[in-house]
Homo-oligomer: 369 residues x 2
DNA sequence: GTGAAAGCGCTAACAG
DNA sequence: CTGTTAGCGCTTTCAC
């Protein structure tokens, strides 16, 4: 016997009002403007509501009427199922959720996986009941992003180039941070530098990257980090074209492992392996250990992000305030839309973090003057 | 000069129809039933829509009319900002999002943080535009959970006791898994066992737990895991009351570290430290290393979950299919609500995973017969 | 304090 | 293929 004897038809504001022989307005007020009716009547309303299994005004009807969804849409780079395994993305969401939580706003994750035709992708976005969007590190030309822009709702981006006109952007100076880290390594005597990066473009590619052809069609962040290293090389008198970069389409520690193995075969003389993310670096570190290499004696390895595990492992990396980025992005979105003309660009600070995986080139006397 | 010259008032289905001098139905059909009008007319509709910045039928109005929100609500144990740092919760979400993604459903994370009065909490849940809820490991008596139940929408729970009447539950047999792991340790000669667990109840408590008083008001999962160890002790001829358990309210690796330090002071004779989660175990491991203990020589340490990092570290643990749990939970929710009377209870398999952090008690000859 | 009226923007029969 | 009709359930002036 089912205990949950539901009414045939869910109760509505009107049916509650009818039962109490009062107007719908009054019932509505009971929920939205307690001061507009007597406490006594209000209690009677709730009592009937409870008995009829009415949990308050229907959210959808309410949203339609008030033109507020009470949620912000989040567009992430990757399929959700992957994103949840990406520590950096999670730290971002953590900060974002803080902002939303304190504003009582929900977070609607857009199911923006690959393998959806453009039209379908647009539909998924067009049908999201949200008051605005947060866009996190989405590649140029992404159909979901295009659809977001079509909604004409407030948008705030993070880790995104300024391509989104009139949308505030939160981020860091990826290029400068990476340049500084590379400059440090070069000052330590490194002359042959290798890099591991995650996917640069929308299409699958695993392997060596042509560093002389890094167009804007690439993922902004990855591209900037590579350019940063090249900046440092140039400044240090090295040939930026001599940089070897190996790309992985997916982004796991295992990818870092295999990419490290690959780059060591392709460019065996490198003494420094700079990874564009900590996840890759952690995998590379594991490879180096298993390959019997001394880190940093034989090979310096660096990361980027400053995820917990990397810090615990003592990885040399760039710490970036992921959580703050998320929080700030949320705050910007939730704040009254500033019609002050030019949208904000907020660049947060990063910090070079010297762990135990980087050091001077061993037997680097050759290079000494 | 602002490039986004928005129309004073957003375009609507009706205004598009008016401009084209056709009926609203036809415009609606252009979006929802392409086969109901000529391709030519459809294109004209889209053209006008594009020019007017109309991104398709308003999601809220659409939801009201169709009585479908196109999203499932997710209620997590903790504040969102914390949950995003919990690998097990993320693996669950990852699986859940897979199910939702392939059904084109969004995931609406309910901002169910602490520090909201009960009435406010109810409101947050009552106002969520969703077609159903997923409830993940929420403590008994939680006001958000109560509010979810009041909505009379489909609900599927995971890692939850059967308290939610008429809702399917997905989970594992925590108690048996832990019993088996404990039995293994006991067979290895361990007689003094300690445990580290995460929060057992809604109130803050850090420190030693009274294991003779584990009531139903506690978190289901944590409680079951402790009871499992006690089962094994009983079976092994040990006194279950002799189990020392240290609890931590928050759940980070650092908590594991400090809890391990604490238990070693309180119960210095333990030779096995069983943690109810990998996160805690990883912290305990770190403490043991820094304390100069040999693991497993001096102390065996075990975890629970099978998160990536734990497996990489070679932790002895129980692997549970977190992602599958999420996926299955989503599938159950998205499937046509089975009115077959008794709600499903799905218990997924776990696997004992023997790493290098557990072993026989050293100099255990004393115990040999 | 309470109620009547007027939609929010859309979809789903159904009839042409 | 296209249009007419009838609401979905609610909030919000504005009077009473």
């Amino acid at each position: 016997m089912s205990r949950s004897r539901q009414p045939r038809r869910q109760a509505t504001l009107a049916s509650i009002a009818a039962e109490l022989k009062i107007s719908r307005t009054t019932v509505s007020n009971a929920y939205n403007r307690p001061d507009q009716l007597s406490a006594d009547l209000r209690d009677r309303v709730f009592e009937v509501a409870k008995r009829r299994g009415y949990a308050g005004p229907d959210p959808m009807a309410r949203s339609l009427r008030t033109r507020k969804a009470g949620a912000v849409g989040v567009l992430l780079t990757e399929a959700l199922s992957y994103s949840f395994r990406d520590p950096a993305a999670m730290a971002f969401l953590s900060g974002l959720s803080e902002a939303c939580e304190s504003a009582g706003q929900g977070l609607l994750l857009i199911p923006a996986g690959p393998g959806r035709a453009d039209e379908e992708a647009a539909q998924v976005v067009h049908r999201a009941s949200v008051d605005g969007f947060v866009v996190y590190s989405v590649p140029p030309g992404d159909p979901y992003l295009a659809a977001v822009l079509e909604r004409h709702l407030p948008v705030v981006a993070c880790d995104q180039p300024r391509e989104i006109e009139s949308a505030p952007v939160v981020g860091i100076d990826d290029r400068r941070a990476m340049r500084d880290l590379a400059a440090h390594l070069i000052s330590l005597g490194h002359r042959e530098i290798g890099m591991l990066c995650m996917r640069l473009g929308r299409d699958r590619h695993d392997g060596v990257v042509d560093v002389t052809d890094l167009g804007a069609e690439h993922f902004h962040v990855q591209r900037e980090r590579i350019l940063g290293v090249q900046d440092a090389m140039r400044q240090g008198g090295l040939d930026p074209a001599g940089l070897t970069v190996v790309e992985r389409f997916t982004h796991t520690s295992d990818d870092g492992y295999s990419a490290a193995a690959q780059i060591s075969a392709v460019a065996p003389r490198i003494t420094a392996l700079m990874c564009t993310t900590d996840v890759l670096a952690l995998g590379a570190l594991r490879w180096a250990q298993e390959a019997g290499l001394d880190v940093p004696g034989h090979l310096s390895i660096t990361g980027f992000d400053g995820i917990d595990e990397a810090l615990r492992e003592g990885l040399t990396t760039v710490r970036q305030p992921q959580k703050d980025k998320g929080r700030r992005t949320g705050e910007l979105l939730l704040a009254a839309p500033s019609h002050t003309g030019v949208p904000a660009v907020e660049t947060l600070d990063t910090q070079l973090w010297f762990g135990k995986t980087s050091g001077p080139v061993e037997s680097a006397e050759w290079y000494a003057e």
